[in-house]
Amino acid sequence: MPDDRSIQVSGLVREFKGGIQAVDGIDLSVTGSEIYGFLGPNGAGKSTTVKVLTTLLPPSAGTVTVAGYDVAREGAKVRASIGVALQDVALDPMLTGREHMRLQAGLQGVPRAERATRGDDLLERVGLTDAAERKSSTYSGGMKRRLDLALALLHRPRILFLDEPTTGLDVQSRTALWDEVARLAREEGTTVFLTTQYLEEADVLADRVGIIDRGVIVAEGTPAALKEEVAHPTVEVIPRDPEGCAAIGAALAPFGEPVAERGAGSVAVRLRSGADQLAEIVRALDVANVTVAHLALHEPTLDDVFLAKTGRSLEGAGDGSAEGSPPIEPSRREQAAA
């Protein structure tokens, strides 16, 4: 009996015209009611993977089952089981929020008697009741995202795909969306497959994280386990006198590797072992006779994981920013033609 809330991917390859391999043999397994964060830089293959998982693109190789159905052979059944909010919010500027809900409800086969109530309930849940009769062209970016999410939830999908749902949102809208996604998984048992390039988003929201780079999954696990496995904390010291940086660098050198990207006037070292070295570090600084203005211990981040796995930092590792980076994910037209 297939798990009607799971996603199973084995050896997925998606190749485009010209031999561009956007996804290069990935395996992943997402279980019911889980929030799975799919993290990677621009052009890593996140959106292409989502398009295959949501039936918008056929796989070039490999097997993918979503909600227990094969995406290559049972596309219609997959579509009936999933809700999708794609990276580009696709709304009709001529329709109001309520008209969007009615159109989507009708096309999704929501029973006629439930359509109005269901639509209004969702509009209320995403805070758009007052704007329901306004054309979507008048909505702000955050309102459009919220309407997009409501549309994806209209037919009570068992699995929800969110492709970079908070890109371009302000902090308040982002937090509200995180709360709603967490509630969906916790209270309604919805499985959530979330792609993001924001480290914090994956860290805060996801039960498990898959990190993709150049079409390949380079790490997978819970955020805590990934950070535990790969990275160590970083200690950052700012001397009262900037001239003291050299002395601090020398004092910290025995404890780990210098971190280059910290700000000017500070010295940072990624520790070889854990935070229990802190007392020794303070003693070493005391011996070096440097007056310290600020000392902080930074817990490892998912960026540290990405750095350890790929040799590059996730922030700024997108298309064209790194040597040998892969081509940009093909446009919608190229995908259709492939």
Binding site: T55, L56, A90, L103, G106, L107, A337
Partner: protein, 263 residues
């Protein structure tokens, strides 16, 4: 097709056609210009070219009667352009992907899209005919002929909308659809829209107009206005429109399958 599937398809077409009509109604430029421009051109041509009716062999004494068929053709071209641009916007903006993620069938998308063009075709044909009658034209084939004229005009409008749908699905961009518009108008100007074929003196022009299917669409409408019942002209016009509909619907279905790579 099962009864359930058929009912779903009907519902989907209804929803998408309703959306297409809302688009037209909410964009005044899509209503006013396609109706006003052909009528304005009719007024200019009628006042400027009336002397052409003095030519021996000209089929009517009223250039208004002769030219009344032209607005119907221009309206059809505008319907093709506007419908095509709307669809292209859906493609460019990603709304087509949203629709593709629902159980919507490809047939429903095309039919719904064409529903809007059909609506515009009916409204504009009625207005052209009423205005034509108000400013002194008539329909030689009588009331029944007027109804057939409306049916033919709507069929022609639908045929060009099918062409616009195909162009939009293939090109996927509003600018590309816009780029086709002058081509449509060249076809109109190189037809017998403004002058009877047998009175065209230039051999090449007469030859092009003879092979241009638009000539026969215009002549079908014109026959009802100035001749009465002309079975051959009507059969040719309806026949060409039907071939266009069948051909461009098939091409549109193919183009949609290519564009929607969904499994």
């Amino acid at each position: 097709m099962s009864a359930l599937a058929s009912s779903n398809l009907t519902g989907q077409v209804g929803l998408l056609a309703g959306r297409a009509v809302r688009h037209i109604v909410r964009q005044p430029a899509q209503v006013v210009f396609p109706i006003a421009f052909p009528l304005l051109l009719l007024a200019v041509n009628t006042s400027g070219l009336d002397a052409a009716t003095d030519l021996p062999g000209f089929p009517t004494a009223s250039y208004l009667d002769f030219a009344l068929a032209v607005p119907f053709m221009q309206g059809a071209l505008f319907a093709a352009l506007n419908g095509g641009q709307d669809l292209a916007r859906d493609i460019e903006g990603g709304f087509l992907d949203r629709l593709a993620l629902t159980p919507m069938s490809g047939a429903a998308l095309i039919a719904g899209q064409l529903g809007g063009a059909l609506f515009m075709g009916v409204v504009s044909a009625l207005i052209y005919l009423i205005v034509g009658l108000l400013i002194g034209s008539g329909v030689a084939a009588g009331l029944g002929g007027a109804l057939v004229l409306l049916a033919l005009a709507v069929t022609i409008s639908f045929a060009f909308a099918c062409l616009g749908t195909f162009v939009a699905l293939r090109a996927g961009s509003g600018q590309a659809v816009q780029g086709f518009f002058p081509l449509f108008f060249v076809l109109l100007f190189l037809s017998s829209a403004f002058f009877p074929r047998d009175l065209i003196e230039q051999d090449w022009f007469r030859e092009v107009a003879t092979y241009n299917p638009v000539s026969y669409l215009v002549e079908g409408i014109r026959s009802l206005v100035i001749t009465g019942w002309d079975g051959q002209a009507l059969a040719q016009a309806f026949g060409i429109a039907a071939v266009m509909i069948a051909g461009f619907l098939a091409l549109s279905a193919w183009a949609l399958r290519t564009r929607l790579a969904r499994t």
